[in-house]
Amino acid sequence: GETQKMNLFQSITSALDNALAKDPTAVVFGEDVAFGGVFRCTVGLRDKYGKDRVFNTPLCEQGIVGFGIGIAVTGATAIAEIQFADYIFPAFDQIVNEAAKYRYRSGDLFNCGNLTIRAPWGCVGHGALYHSQSPEAFFAHCPGIKVVIPRSPLQAKGLLLSCIEDKNPCIFFEPKILYRAAVEQVPVEPYNIPLSQAEVLQTGSDVTMVAWGTQVHVIKEVATMAQEKLGVSCEVIDLRTILPWDTETVCKSVAKTGRLLISHEAPLTGGFASEISSTVQEECFLNLEAPISRVCGYDTPFPHIFEPFYIPDKWKCYDALRKMINY
């Protein structure tokens, strides 16, 4: 159908617009969403759909998520915004103890499947400790919720719409550094991209590389470098859904290549790469030619002035890949 040039925040607006148009129970709320949001994701929606459907809440993340759960419990669609993923922690109890467990603990008498929580995520060049975090690992440990991270505007709209329509509470992290920087032709009409399905962006035979969000673009570049400088053929996978994650696609790839590199901005220890690594060594032990490599942020809070040294950039990924090939 008809497409339009959209950046990431515009693709989010488009998804929300589609959702509000299609589902009369849907409401969008959070801090500062009424005027359009600090990242402009909700621009125009209040004028179009009314102040009872697109509205500000007080400054209180535990309230925002609790409130969203309550809306969803009645069967209406709740789309909550947390202003930065770094500030999601006051809502951790509501997410982990309540949203994730609503259906299970009630024996399926009640659920909050109509809840979606969106939050800007990841490094942005100058965000430091509290405007750069990637907290997906905290939520990966929580059965009952879904965690989704898009790499681009086209992916974001389809994945967000799937989250909104999915009958389980979902957390959707949006790579803020891509809000303006990433631009694509995106369909104006709604479409869905399935959850819990990783995407192989590029097939290869020597090494599998897995990432999500912004880091997918880094490993894509590393794949090109590896081909040019080392003659190494890389298979590049965007995981897309962190929970429940697509073990089949990743394991199938590593069974073929024998080598796996996983990369994320979040700190190494307990980061989601650990879960992937552990699963792959269980499923593909005899296929492995080298230890699984994780290229991640250091085990520190996210620094300000030292960001260029902190992030798992293409040179670190390339170096890790080279070591794996030479193992």
């Binding site: 309230g63 509501q94 009630s106 008498l109 499947g113 009958k167 389980n168």
Partner: protein, 421 residues
């Protein structure tokens, strides 16, 4: 002139030229609204809601049936038949007075000590017990500890253990209900201890700013486990916080079913008509169960540190923190059940004969339901795995298969005989 008034967006007020701190007036606090005295005598006839006899009998029978069910299930916990229980002694008035004032379809979010609301709405004894036993009839599929009831047909959201989490949820539900239906309210129950949680603050503030048709109902029973109210707050209870958020607020005698009824009824009516939240603080007292005859506990990890008498719950011994005299006063001098009975007796609606007959028949009903619950098997172990998501993810399906295989070899070490296949 307009320039002389403060122009700040944050508050509309006058200027003051004298330095004066507002005194939080704890000694002369918000008064306690009541309809009856402690002997069940109506003080002002105009305040008597004049409920029809059948409804008053229903209030009484619900409270006493709850009391009877509590005694039997509390005892069953002490005997190790169920793992845990929470009684409602002393607070029955807060449950039925408020439940009677609501519409049947008003959505209820509770904390864990509101079983009388569900009982008033007709939830059968069998299902209370099935949940406590976690047996195959439990609509909750045996997932939670006892007393974590839920019933969509009766608009009672399933209880969860974390305190106060239901408060902002109730507000969200009220917001959605406001958009969907012009004549439905949400009622949210919580204790005075839970009101200290951040979620309570969040809920009150959201309800007011987003104009939600919700009645917040705080059961102030004097204790949060062992913590008395003097250690829980320093202001004038919970009712005094309401105005700080912009909530219309009232404090009532929670042991006076008609006071509870009147306040809830009016709050509910106005919440829906005006789309604004109300706060009711019902003062009451948490009475510990009578001392048990025997102690045999199959679940020592709950009560290992505590001795005989369960109080906050079966894992608590409140003789460690309150005096016999205090407890006796509430049991004997100011109890919601006896106050209503006096009211009924005065009108010739109840007598000793009726009382004896009802005690016998209610106990029989409870014991029959209890015996049936005792005999029922538990649900099949595979129900451990469902409802995590709407659909079962592949990994979980594999884990379920793993357990099945494990039980094939090691099944003798598991209590399989208690469970359905």
């Amino acid at each position: 002139s307009p320039e002389e008034r403060p122009q700040f967006p944050g508050a509309s007020a006058e200027f003051a030229e004298r330095l004066e701190f507002i005194q939080p007036n704890v000694l002369a606090g918000i008064p306690v609204y009541r309809v009856m005295d402690r002997q069940g005598q109506v003080l002002r006839p105009s305040e008597d809601p004049q409920l029809p006899k059948e409804q008053v009998l229903k209030l009484y029978k619900t409270m006493t049936l709850l009391n009877t069910m509590d005694r039997i299930l509390y005892e069953s916990q002490r005997q190790g038949r169920i793992s845990f229980y929470m009684t409602n002694y002393g607070e029955e008035g807060t449950h039925v007075g408020s439940a009677a004032a609501l519409d049947a379809s008003d959505l209820v979010f509770g904390q864990y000590r509101e079983a009388g609301v569900l009982l008033y709405r007709g939830y059968p004894l069998e299902l209370f017990m099935a949940q406590c036993y976690g047996n195959a009839s439990d609509p909750g599929k045996g997932r939670q500890m006892p007393v974590h009831y839920g019933c969509p047909e009766r608009h009672f959201v399933t209880i969860s253990s974390p305190l106060a989490t239901q408060i902002p949820q109730a507000v969200g539900a009220a917001y959605a209900i406001k958009r969907a239906d012009a004549n439905r309210a949400v009622v949210c129950y919580f204790g005075e201890g839970a009101a200290s949680e951040g979620d309570a603050h969040a809920g009150f503030n959201f309800a007011a700013t987003l104009e939600c048709p919700i009645v917040f109902f705080c059961r102030n029973n004097g204790y949060a486990i062992s913590t008395p109210t003097s250690e829980q707050y320093r202001g004038d209870g919970i009712a005094a916080r309401g105005p700080g958020y912009g909530l219309l607020s009232i404090r009532v005698d929670g042991n006076d079913v008609f006071a509870v009824y009147n306040a809830t009824r009016e709050a509910r009516r106005r919440a829906v008509a005006e789309n604004q939240p109300f706060l009711i603080e019902a003062m009451t007292y948490r009475i510990p169960p009578p001392p048990p005859q025997k102690k045999k506990n199959r679940f020592p990890w709950f009560s290992a540190r505590f001795s005989l008498i369960g109080h906050h719950s079966t894992s608590d011994d409140s003789s460690a923190y309150r005096s016999v005299d205090e407890v006796n006063y509430w049991d004997k001098q100011d109890h919601p059940i006896s106050r209503l009975r006096h009211y009924m007796a005065r009108r010739g609606w109840w007598d000793e004969e009726e009382e004896k007959g009802w005690r016998k028949s209610s106990r029989k009903m409870v014991l029959e339901a209890f015996e049936r619950a005792e005999r029922e098997p538990k649900p099949p172990p595979r129900l451990l795995f469902s409802d995590v998501y709407l659909e079962m993810p592949p990994r979980l399906r594999r884990q379920r298969a793993e357990l099945e295989r494990h039980l094939e070899t090691y099944g003798e070490h598991y209590p399989l005989q208690q469970f359905q296949k």
